[in-house]
């Protein structure tokens, strides 16, 4: 695939939950190898945006195009995942009753993830090496055979990141990666995301402005299901409407 053009393209996307518009004619374009941070107050539709991209939620209207011309609407989550979109959830979503190693092994990008392939195939030496590298990256090198459910919260977050990395996606969706992490872990996560953005496109949802400043190049601000501002961190912070949303709610109430 060429590195020209957008990796994900959303046009006029609307998601309707019983009359409540979680997304309202939203437009968003993310380029290849871009690290995009999406911010916005609670209920702005950030998580819904990721849900739409990865197939968990079907929009009422609009277009979602992946890469050059792959329409994502109507595809199942696993099909979208196979196309090269990985997702890390807000609350760590791992397989608690499998070991760390098995968690990573299941996530590893493979030719086929059908039932017969998984019944028959054994991990190859290359795959062992890849998983070992990932273990190293996420700092779980010493615990490959611990049950994932017994890891600490931060370790689980990292394990999930590791799982998503092993999928080797073209586009990575990351939902509040540093929630509940210590300052040091946060910083490491930031470095990791930046490193990932070298090879993959990444969309990060985040509340922590400190963290946003650390990693962001381009920031998109969502409010009430639509994009209200987009640009470099400085520009966004200087934007009146953004300040209004975050700071000046009273002002809106007066007018």
């Amino acid at each position: 695939m060429s590195n020209k053009g957008s990796i994900i393209y959303l046009e006029e996307v609307t998601v309707d939950y019983d009359g409540f518009k979680a997304l309202n004619n939203l437009n968003l374009i993310v380029e290849y190898n871009e690290l995009r941070v999406v911010i916005g107050p609670n209920g702005a539709g950030k998580t819904t945006l990721l849900d739409v991209i990865c197939g968990k939620t079907t929009p009422a209207s609009g277009r979602v195009i992946f890469g050059k011309d792959i329409n994502l609407i109507g595809k199942r989550e696993d099909q979208i995942s196979a196309l090269g979109i990985g997702r890390k959830f807000q609350a760590p979503s791992i397989y608690a009753n499998l070991t760390v190693w098995e968690n990573l092994d299941l996530s590893l990008k493979r030719e086929s993830k059908g039932i017969f392939a998984t019944l028959m195939s054994k991990p190859t030496a290359t795959e062992y090496r890849t998983i070992d590298e990932a273990l190293e990256t996420i700092g779980l090198k010493d615990h490959p055979h611990r049950l994932a459910g017994s890891l600490s919260h931060g370790q689980k977050q990292w394990l999930e990141i590791g799982m998503v990395i092993l999928q080797d996606p073209l586009l990575l969706l990351v939902d509040e990666p540093v929630a509940g992490m210590t300052d040091k872990e946060t910083e490491q996560t930031g470095l990791l995301l930046q490193a990932l953005a070298e090879k993959h496109a990444v969309i990060v949802i985040e509340h922590d402005m400190e963290f946003v400043r650390q990693i962001a190049r381009t920031v998109t601000v969502l409010h009430e299901g639509a994009v209200i501002c987009e640009g470099p961190v400085e520009k966004v912070q200087a934007d009146d409407r953004v300040r209004e949303i975050y700071l000046g709610r009273q002002k809106v109430a007066y007018t």
Binding site: Y17, D18, F20, A22, T47, T48, S93
Partner: protein, 535 residues
């Protein structure tokens, strides 16, 4: 502060229950009073029309009745029919005590005819009505004027209907040819179900007999028209009755599943012992009845059912509370395990009932719920089923008020939507769970109480309905009352609609297939809560 608010909730709950029972009492009181009045009236009271007759005269008459000579027979017949009264009937019975067989055989139809003639003047609606119906098939043309006279003075619509029907029927079967056309037309206009076989027979006969064909031509045409008219009507009457039976079954399903659905929505728990709580309600009704029999005067017996309603609600509710506290409480977040554990509870309950009460008992429906109302020709609505429908409407209204107009309801809805957030806001979620579970169980008890009106009380009672009510919950979806109502109505009515053509068994199979196909389109039921799901 929480505690005080909670007692407020309890008070409201209590007031609601009392108001419900009171409304129910008003609802049935009219019918009750009427039924008591009716049962106190004498069965037979006949005005005397003839002078004193001696036993000897009667004996002579009966002998002439048995005569081979038609003229002699007819004369005796006419005398008896025209002068006979209640006292005469008694004499008639005495007269044939030692008569020979031929006389007895000859007297029998005359006696029946006379009896029915006298009954036409009875004070009881049902007696007059059945007498009229009997006369209709007596093939005695002399009964026609009686019926017409009686019909002219008849106050009750459906008795009058039976009289007119019988008169026309007699005209058609044994009357003069010229009057037959009119009789057939009348039968057709009356939509007479009883007249249908006679009309068909007439058409067949008249058509096959070339001699009388010409003379019968107008009557034949009238009869054919009448048959069409009646058959069309009976199709509609059938549809109507099927709908009614469907609604009635739906009502039972609804009372059962609405409790199940609320609990499922709130706690994500399916209570497999729900059917057994219904059984508990049925046995509570049974025990209430037995207590009334044993300790209270008989004239109060009919009131037992009004007492049984709250009793069954409370007993089942308390059982539910115990079940929640001992089993379900420990299984939050493990819905599948809860199903298994509650199924275990249901086995224990069934076997306990079997050991204690034996296999089969029945509740005597109170007098004011037996019988029914005729609303159209061929459509008869039994009171017990009407009562059940009324009860379910009342229940749903009560639940609606409780859920949307009370403090408890607000909390239930809050916990249903977001348990953690509710807990953070200081709602005692566990208590809300316990009360809701008890309330749902109480509703099952109420359903059990209602069920005693239409079926036996047996330990396996709940099992017959439980799978259907699960299907209602699955189809209706979680979180909205309307879903459960629509699903209960749909599944109950469909059951009754499919029964005639598919049979009960294949009807059920068919419904299962429909539900599975329906879930293809809407995996979480009719009305699912939309929004960001927290997995």
């Amino acid at each position: 502060m929480q505690g005080r608010e909670l007692t407020g909730v309890k008070d409201r709950l209590g007031i609601g229950a009392i108001a419900g029972v009171a409304a129910l009492a008003l609802f049935v009181w009219g019918e009750f009073a009427r039924a008591v009045e009716a049962s106190a009236a004498p069965v037979l009271s006949v005005p005397s029309i003839a002078g004193p007759l001696a036993l000897a005269d009667v004996k002579a008459l009966t002998e002439r009745l048995a005569s081979d000579d038609p003229a002699v027979h007819d004369q005796a017949f006419r005398i008896i029919i025209q002068t006979g009264d209640a006292r005469f009937l008694v004499l008639l019975d005495e007269a044939v005590v030692d008569a020979d067989r031929a006389t007895r055989v000859a007297v029998k139809p005359v006696k029946d005819l006379l009896k029915n003639k006298l009954k036409l003047a009875s004070e009881t609606d049902d007696v007059r009505r059945s007498a009229a119906a009997d006369l209709g098939t007596s093939r005695q043309l002399s009964a026609v004027p009686w019926l017409e006279r009686a019909a002219a003075n008849e106050p009750n619509r459906w008795v009058r209907y039976a009289m007119e029907e019988s008169a026309a029927l007699l005209q058609l079967t044994v009357g003069e040819t010229v009057l037959k056309a009119r009789a057939a037309t009348i039968l057709g206009e009356l939509q007479s179900q009883n007249g249908l076989p006679a009309l068909k027979e007439f058409v067949q006969q008249a058509a096959s007999d070339p001699v009388s064909r010409e003379a019968n031509q107008p009557a034949l045409r009238a009869a054919q028209g009448a048959i069409e008219q009646i058959e069309l009507w009976s199709t509609w009457a059938n549809v109507f009755e099927t709908v009614f039976r469907g609604i009635s079954l739906s009502s039972i399903l609804l009372i059962m599943s609405v409790g199940l659905a609320i609990v499922f929505g709130l706690m994500g728990v399916i209570n497999m012992a729900h059917g057994e709580l219904m059984m508990v309600g049925a046995y509570a009704t049974f025990v209430t009845q037995e207590l009334f029999k044993a300790f209270l005067p008989p004239h109060l017996f009919d009131a037992y059912f009004l007492v049984a309603l709250p009793v069954s609600f409370l007993v089942a509710g308390i059982c539910g509370l115990i079940l929640e506290a001992t089993v379900i409480r420990f299984l939050y977040g493990r819905p599948l395990e809860t199903m298994l554990a509650t199924w275990g509870v249901s086995l224990v309950l069934i076997q306990s009932a079997r050991v204690y009460f034996g296999d089969l008992t029945a509740v005597t429906a109170p007098a004011w719920l037996s019988g029914g109302a005729q609303v159209m020709v061929g459509v008869y609505l039994p009171y017990n089923r009407l009562f059940i429908i009324g009860l379910s409407v009342l229940c749903v209204t009560g639940i609606y008020v409780l859920l949307f107009r009370s403090n408890l309801g607000l909390r239930v809805r809050a916990v249903t939507q977001n348990r953690n957030m509710s807990a953070c806001l200081g709602i005692p979620t566990r208590k809300v769970d316990a009360y809701t579970f008890a309330f749902g169980s109480g509703l099952a008890g109420l359903a059990g109480c209602a069920l005693t009106l239409v079926g036996n009380v047996e330990p396996g009672l709940g099992q017959n309905y439980i799978v259907d009510s699960f299907m209602v919950v699955v189809t209706g979806g979680v979180g909205k009352l309307a879903g459960t109502i629509v699903a209960a109505l749909g599944i109950g009515s469909l059951n009754k609609f499919l029964e005639p053509s598919f049979g009960a068994v294949y009807g059920k199979v068919f419904i299962l297939v429909l539900v599975i196909l329906f879930l293809q389109r809407r995996p979480s039921g009719l009305y699912a809560l939309k929004g960001r799901q927290v997995d």
